[in-house]
Amino acid sequence: MNRIDQLFQNKQKDILSIYFPSGYPKLEDTLPTLQLLQDKGIDLVEIGIPFSDPLADGPVIQTAAKQALDNGMTLQLLFDQLKDARKSITMPLILMGYWNTVYKFGVDAFLAECQKVGIDGVILPDLPLEEYQEEYKAKFETAGVHNVLLVTPQTTDKRLVTIEKAASGFLYMVSTASTTGGALQASKEREDYFKKIAALDIPSLIGFGIHDKASFQHAASFSNGAIIGTAFIKALEKGNTVEFLESLQ
């Protein structure tokens, strides 16, 4: 069974997910960071594929991606780094990146590598749903790789129906109209949106703007859990990841 499905079967509350860019801060840091996250009890990890033009990301992730690229990070190198990861890593793993890098790598080759190293899902924010369904869905399903879809506060009810039907794994619930790393303001409107998504038949995690224990707990109270990205990258940058992860417990 896909590890993402397994996770949501075994755990419905307070799922803590961390995003970090591969090859950052140092080229060879991908695997040690994964190990640390598992040791600290993180439930689910999203590994960033660095891209030169990350449209949906704020300055912190942009800078980290650029650093990774300057370090020499590539998608092929990421697969190489992950070659033996499954010897010790049991958490579900998701790759998050932009469509151009995957397309250029070749979709078939990409999925074959995902299967080989044990990737459970992908998040490709700029691959449109319609194109995905018509051209790629069958391939992803055959490879057993979930294509995790995003919903946002701007997503209309009509589109939500389409997304819910097409979703697999879980829904990535974007908390607010902003690129990654923005602040999350609590409001009645926001909570209504969280509740609406949480009421769907598919599990959901809230991301964008979750940065500490309090914001995690607040978000997790409306959904199956939440995703922390920018705040963890800042900890990677400062070198206080252990402290940061422990502060979330």
Partner: protein, 603 residues
Amino acid sequence: MKIKVCGLKYSKNIKELVQLPIDYAGFIFYPKSPRYVGEEFNAAIPALFPKSTRKVGVFVNEELNVLLAKGEKYKLDAIQLHGGESAEYCQKVKEAGFEVIKAFQMNDNFQFESLNEYEDVCDFFLFDTKTENYGGSGRKFNWEILENYKGSIPFFLSGGIGAQDAEQIKQLSHDKLYALDLNSGFELQPAKKNADQLEIFLNKLELNTMNKDKYAVDERGYYGEFGGAYIPELLRKNVDELQENYLKILASEQFKKDYARLLDNYVGRPTPLTKAGNLSKRYGTNIYLKREDLTHTGAHKINNTIGQILLAKYMGKKRIIAETGAGQHGVATATVCALFGLECIVYMGALDVERQAPNVARMKMLGAKVVPAISGNQTLKDATNEAIRDWIANPESFYLIGSVVGPHPYPDLVTRLQSIISEEIREQLEKETGNPNPNYVIACVGGGSNAAGAFYHYLNEKNVNLVAVEASGLGVESGETAATITIGDIGFIHGSKTMLMQDDDGQITEPYSISAGLDYPGVGPLHAHLAVSGRAQFLSATDEEALNAAKVLAESEGIIPALESAHALAVLEKMQFQKDDVVVLNLSGRGDKDMETYMKKFN
């Protein structure tokens, strides 16, 4: 014009039809029709048609849940409602994700005002002959009454069309006529179509010449395989809103009037078409310059910003975001924002802010806020990223893009707004030479907006050679270039599938050109399609060649061109013309902004 064949049922018959250019295949789910598909209809039969043929289910006053279930079972793309269905009913079908075609029965007294309430809830209307039994009469109605239809929804023409009608159909000129609905006129027996007769009829229609839209964008924003809207879900609602509104607004009388008036008395259109006598002598042919350099603000960019600012106004937007490279589009945007009293934020790569100081000063004087983009390499690509990020964070804003790039509908929107260039060329050339068509149209390509505008009305005129000129910087082999079509390959940038400069790992590479307006690693999807299909010839000019061409024009015609336009001029040296050829070169802008570069080179 699209073709719908309706009243299909038999798989053997369909297999004879699949090679014909059929855009819509209709299946009748109304039990009283002689062409009813029946209770046991096999869902694999509609799927015999290729994906490009849309499957339509025809229903008459059906219960909604029954209809939706059939829609799902037979994977229908569109629902044709042929009974007395209400606007609310249509809306529900549309909300379920189907394209809605609402049929109406015509007679001489038909009141087209009764369609008003259906405008927002239908994608198409279908006009059929009035009968007692919901269509299928085999008779035509009086097509003259179509003149009374002034609505904005395109329509299918239906009712008794037969093989003998081809000539009359070719004479129809209603601008909302979208498709022909063919049924009983081409049958051997009910629901069994005569494939040979259909083929002869479709050939007679000469769809290829009628379809002026071979190079037009399709419903999903593709030109051939290029285009689309590859955007994060965060932008979906904004982009959908624009997709839903732009054609309606552009076609409205109010927009047309406002746009024409501003082009006339603010921009200074029509711009002249100047016969360049000395240049013609030099190259042994007849060269005409389309003088976009004489517009207000000094480049074609203003044609687009005037149109988009009107669109923004009609959509109720108050805050305008734009990106700029050389600053020409930034200035053109700041100008129209000042004119309309709207807030204006322009993103400009930090490096370009330094390189293009005079334009930064102009934008500021016009009241715009100029935000230096400090991400990436700090040029146009990064400014565009920042503008899009701003739009994500401020979804109520209007993103006023500067070229035929970005997610659908921007490439089509900007192309339409720039098409005034070739519209004028045709008229002016006809007056001057008696023929609206030249032998060549030449334009430079950064994102491709001035070229798209200069090519637009010639796209389907096979005898007009279209020549696009990219900037090759220090040379295409040098690594310091912006010749996307020459060295790029397929990729995705700023929401569009197109040709792109990238490395083997799919990272977008930084272009180089002396001209900031051509310094872009992608190209509009229309141009990718024109290049790959061979419709346009793509050449390139180096920094050096462009600088020299600027000097030639200045000295021979007394016109100092923009560095971008100088790239188009540079290929005159490389091309072979006949003495009688008519060559139109789009002079996209004037050289004031480039004086510093010219002075460095020539003093």
